[in-house]
Symmetry: C2
């Protein structure tokens, strides 16, 4: 049993339950010539993992249609960030989805799912980390995402690299992960100890609502933002992502985190979707 | 090998090296009738552990002279906090020092060093935690301290209890732990993910500079604050603790975190000790 089999909620499904009309709605949109892009902050899955998940739910999809926060981070590190060749290694706090996407951009990485880090810290570690003996001098980036294998040793390594000047990145800043009808620690909770240790320094994040992700999507699909609509269930990530990206519209569905239109009604609300439906399937004529 | 054997620095010693004149200075103070109290934010050791450590370094000490952040938290929970009998259990994120001090006040606790929590989260955990089936309904407090066995499962449990209304306490807020000449994750880094998940809510903390600790010390020793001096190596915890507690004086030693008097000199510095010496031993005639 793997942690990624947990029950998640959102726009398309809740756990293993596909919302009614999801498949037909996506087919309808595609038949009208619309480009569909699946944008997820889940860093534990690679694009290939997501394609499999979508197909297992009966939704035809290609890897290219999937944009995850890990992929977004990998694109940024390999194509935008100019790291000297001697500092190109990424220390990962996270699951295999991050590693797969770093691999797809040929970015060297350590940490992550390496079982060598899956243990309790020992007295000799303090000396070897503090002296630098246990550290890889080529690490120039610490990338934190949702890590079901988080431990003190990995935090100690990540902090040591940050103190030596490594850049501080996070796949996403979602502090909670909806699952089984409740909330669990999210990717943003994994980077929080490092932010505290670094005196409040926040990581650069690549998930929604970070516009680094929108830029990466635009770079790939060359779409007209004014003719694009962001569909999502979270106001502070999905809907904000669409509004700040200057998209033509945003559509909120009530099948995930947001439960009612009352959540954005009233004075002083900054993030208000253009439209809403109870579920995606309601878009069918 | 146990994590607490790591090399720590501070006022009395650095790792296994006692600073010159420490023993003689403490003897001199005691011979003049001064009450000595050892105040530590280290939550991983109980008072009994500290007495042993002090004696192993050649410093005679009684358990009553030691005040740790775990003891301070236990005193608060048992004597000040009025929890209904059905909500008296504490969920611990931390080491045995916390458990020993909770035991000393007869406070029931779960989590902590229990090996049952020392594992990777599994899919069934999401359901059993979300439904409450895996939760102890008598938990009324989550207490976070330095935890070398931190993992995702324990964070998920702690967050579940907090969402159900448990009080959020931390032994101390030191985000870093000096060791082997470098910095490692401290107790404040362990509570940081929970603060992020709780939308920024900070725990009530019991270590220096929290005045909950000063009140507990005063409650025990009935000393005259104006005739007391706080000796410490950290400005933001030790010296601030003495100043905010209205003690007669504060003395900074340069054998620990603070390396030079320049760190508190200049305009706008809020935390300035009354006096400083290079090392405690310099107090000898």
């Amino acid at each position: 049993m793997k942690p990624e089999k947990m029950r998640s909620i959102g726009v398309l499904w809740s756990g293993d339950h596909l919302f009614e009309g999801t498949v037909e709605t996506l087919e309808m949109l595609r038949s009208k010539g619309k480009q569909v892009v699946f944008v997820t902050n889940n860093s534990t899955k690679s694009r290939a993992d997501y394609k499999k998940k979508l197909e297992s739910m009966g939704i035809p999809a290609s890897e290219d249609e999937v944009f995850g926060s890990s992929y977004s981070a990998a694109i940024y590190i390999s194509r935008i960030l100019s790291l000297p060749p001697t500092q190109k290694t990424v220390f990962v706090l996270g699951e295999s989805g991050i590693e797969t996407e770093l691999d797809s951009e040929s970015i060297p990485h350590i940490g992550g799912t390496d079982p060598a880090y899956n243990r309790i810290i020992e007295p000799s570690d303090y000396t070897s980390i503090a002296s630098g003996q246990a550290l890889d001098p080529s690490v120039g980036v610490v990338l934190a995402g949702l890590d079901f294998h988080l431990n003190y040793l990995k935090l100690a390594y990540a902090f040591a690299y940050l103190q030596r000047g490594a850049k501080f990145f996070a796949t996403n800043m979602d502090t909670t992960l909806p699952s089984a009808g409740s909330l669990f620690p999210g990717g943003g909770a994994i980077s929080a100890p490092l932010t505290a240790m670094m005196g409040g320094e926040k990581p650069m994040a690549f998930g929604k609502p970070s516009q680094a992700m929108m830029d990466a999507i635009e770079g790939k699909f060359k779409f007209d933002r004014k003719k694009a609509c962001m569909v999502g269930d979270r106001l502070d990530t999905d809907i904000r992502f669409g509004i700040e990206g200057g998209l033509g519209g945003t559509l909120c569905v009530l099948t995930g985190v947001t439960k009612s239109e009352k959540e954005w009604e009233g004075e002083g609300k900054e993030v208000v979707p253009t439209a809403w439906v109870k579920q995606l399937g309601d878009l069918r004529g």
